[in-house]
Symmetry: C2
Subunit: 449 residues, 2 copies
């Protein structure tokens, strides 16, 4: 460490690309201070994502409301000698004062649909690019993965177990939240409970068993200390033997007034073990004792376990969730669409973008299923439900509750056509371009801009 403390600076305004600062400096020197509109969207969906679930907005809005440079950060910037004093002094007064339109968290979204539009003086809208992408990309990634797990095992309780291999503790925090928005019942991550009020669950680790001389003693010690948390990890040495040990101590626990809430299986053939363990528990009068499974699970394995009728009540989903293991990134961009009231369009090869401030109009069929979306201009009056709403004005946000976002995902998943619910079918959902937007794009192309 030869600078600011990494924990303090990790999510500061210095958590940005250096070019944001050089551009701010150059905008200032060139006198470019007009209002700009930037939109963030996902370019196309990967083959194994029939849809995405928007997430991360409220975390972003909270950040935009409060972001400013600290004295230590400004001192460090000065010390680099790469910016004139007057520019750094200006940064001391930097605040986000813009307006934001966005798609609510938990909304089902598709390719090319802006999920946020940020309108502000260009120096504000430019500087927040990195953090806007960072927050919305990752949380949408995890919410979309989590929604697939929910579709794969709709009757089960799903818990996020993925903090340890998330790409940072902060990633684990936001993953827990995104998974909850998407329909998970809770998380093992304590900080997510503290920050967001998400239900926190936990069992025990193999080390707890190993630190004892025998399993039976370990289970009893745990039950006496944590009578409300009696979920015993039974696979440290032999899963079925572990289940029999639980059955053997159940009477003793009952006398102490302690129920056996559950057992957890973390290795081997989960379906086979769950069947054998269920039988052992049932034969011992422990039919209300739940079976929790974990260990390398993802939506495909959930689907298979459900198809096999495995008697598993709760699944702990870890690394595959918090890293979105099969698809750890989505193609997305934050692009200038308007500057000083003039629509803008970038035309780099293979990356054509739609210009101007836009709106998404969603149309449903008679059964309430998603039918098509129309990508139009913000000013157009088109048929359908507009997805972008004002969520921040002059830098002040209107926040939703986490539960409202969670309910929105639930409704969204119910409105998905069957083909889009399938885990392996690429999305063919139509996002059509409005006449107004087509005309604007053609006009700009004619003028080479």
């Amino acid at each position: 460490m030869n600078g600011l403390r990494s924990t303090e600076i990790a999510s500061s305004l210095l958590a940005t690309d250096f070019y944001q600062l050089t551009m701010l400096h150059a905008y200032r020197e060139a006198g470019l201070h007009e209002r700009a509109s930037f939109e963030f969207f996902f370019r196309r969906l990967p083959p194994t994502r029939g849809f995405l679930v928007a997430a991360g907005l409220e975390i972003l809005l909270e950040k935009l409301e409060t972001a400013q440079f600290s004295q230590a950060e400004l001192d460090w910037l000065r010390s680099t000698g790469r910016f004139p004093e007057s520019f750094v002094n200006d940064l001391a007064g930097w605040r986000f004062t813009g307006d934001v339109h966005a798609v609510s968290e938990g909304t089902i979204i598709f390719q090319n649909e802006p999920i946020i539009r940020i309108e502000a003086p260009i120096c504000e809208a430019q500087l927040v690019e990195t953090l806007t992408i960072n927050f919305l990309h990752y949380q949408t990634l995890v919410a979309s993965k989590a929604a697939r797990c929910v579709l794969a095992a709709p009757q089960a309780r799903l818990i996020d177990f993925g903090l340890r291999r998330a790409h940072s503790l902060e990633a684990g925090l936001y993953a827990a939240r995104a998974a909850y928005v998407a329909g998970f019942s809770g998380t093992a991550s304590v900080h997510a409970g503290a920050a967001f009020g998400i239900p926190v669950y936990g069992t025990m680790a193999h080390s707890f068993i190993q630190a004892h001389d025998d399993e039976s003693r370990a289970f009893l010690d745990f039950a006496r200390a944590r009578p409300d948390d009696t979920i015993f990890l039974i696979d440290t040495y032999d899963t079925e033997a572990g289940a029999r040990i639980v059955a053997a101590i159940a009477d003793k626990l009952r006398q102490l007034g302690i129920p056996v809430r559950g057992v957890r299986i973390d290795s081997g053939d989960l379906a086979a073990h769950a069947c054998a363990v269920r039988k052992i528990l049932d034969e011992s009068g422990l039919s209300v004792t739940r079976i929790i499974a974990s260990g390398g699970l993802d939506e495909w394995k959930l689907r298979d376990l459900v198809a096999q009728g495995a008697p598993i009540d709760t699944y702990g989903i870890g690394t595959s969730l918090t890293t979105s293991e099969d698809v750890p990134m989505l193609d997305c961009a934050y692009k200038l669409v308007e500057y000083g009231g003039v629509p803008k369009q970038k035309r780099s090869e293979g990356k054509v973008l739609w210009p101007g401030s836009k709106q998404v109009f969603r149309q449903y069929d008679s059964s309430g299923c998603l039918e098509r979306d129309i990508l139009g201009l913000a000013g157009e009056k088109l048929e359908g439900e507009p997805l972008l709403w004002p969520v921040m004005r002059d830098g002040r946000a209107e926040l939703m509750t986490l539960d409202a976002n969670r309910k929105r995902t639930q409704r969204g998943l119910q409105s998905l056509p069957h083909r889009l619910r399938d885990l392996g079918t690429p999305s063919d959902y139509p996002v059509e371009i409005s006449d107004g937007l087509l005309r604007l794009a053609a006009e700009l192309a004619k003028h080479g801009r």
Copy 2:
């Protein structure tokens, strides 16, 4: 938000699995306070990783030195009603006072090799499991990916461009550091410069060009404001046209005493564009102007561009680096290997582990290349270079400089046998088990523990 502020809590001691706290409580109630040894290791290498580069240790040690619960965190724990007052009061005094042996950052490592051994009273060694895995897993993941990029383009300058799609701003911070340890020249992430003194680089974004009415004007505005940072982004509309615009304004800039340091290409066929642009620049007397390429690059694309002889001086590597896109997680574990002086071994199906406190002994061939590693007991005296060293005693760390870690990777990559440098060949590196370790494992198996 209905709790503690997420930014403050993201990397607090509450960033842990709930079961760590319930186990601490149960250890306390059961009177289990003996010293425990835990080891962290990667189980096996993915097919596209011939080796791994250990990273993250010093970040972890700094965390262990300073970690404690804040008053607000303890108050929140109390408010949950899930722990007795006396236990929460105990947590107020929780500090890490243990000893740590570890493999230095930048060391080449292989399957089953402990890269850290944490010895402490079990309540300390247990609680730090989640953060130990979190820090070491992610940073080793990124350093290993970065080292592959270095091997693919050994003559080029490589810069981390991946903050925006890293899985959180904190992930981006640590990714920049891990990539630097592995041989990258720097990063675009400002916070990584502020926290670790890593060289920070930057160019300009498409929005800067688009905010102007024409490219020429945008380049001039930027150059006047940032005469030391003249790397022009030339692909907003047409790459070769952009290069010709740069050539056209070079004279004017020269008169102002401003050199044209470079141009950046971010889309299309990078090799073809680089050749055409190189020609345009050379013909305009800009032969010292560098070409920077970015946009969806990874080690495979680097290898192809180098093989094609693309005249590219610097590569910006983004998402593929910070998400380790092809392999976003490594199979790894933090396991109890000794408790109260007694070796321990977990035997869950398909997950057999080596018991006891261990050491890795590395043997080189006559040309200085890695030949084999021996996994032995910490007390054994075996031939070879021991990889684990004492790095923390009684909770106080001895830290290395970042540059020492970076040099270690450089030496390590030079000592890799040719077959392990190949991007597509799975590792066949021998990690042999010592006789002493085999005997101990057999003995424990005999007693069923």
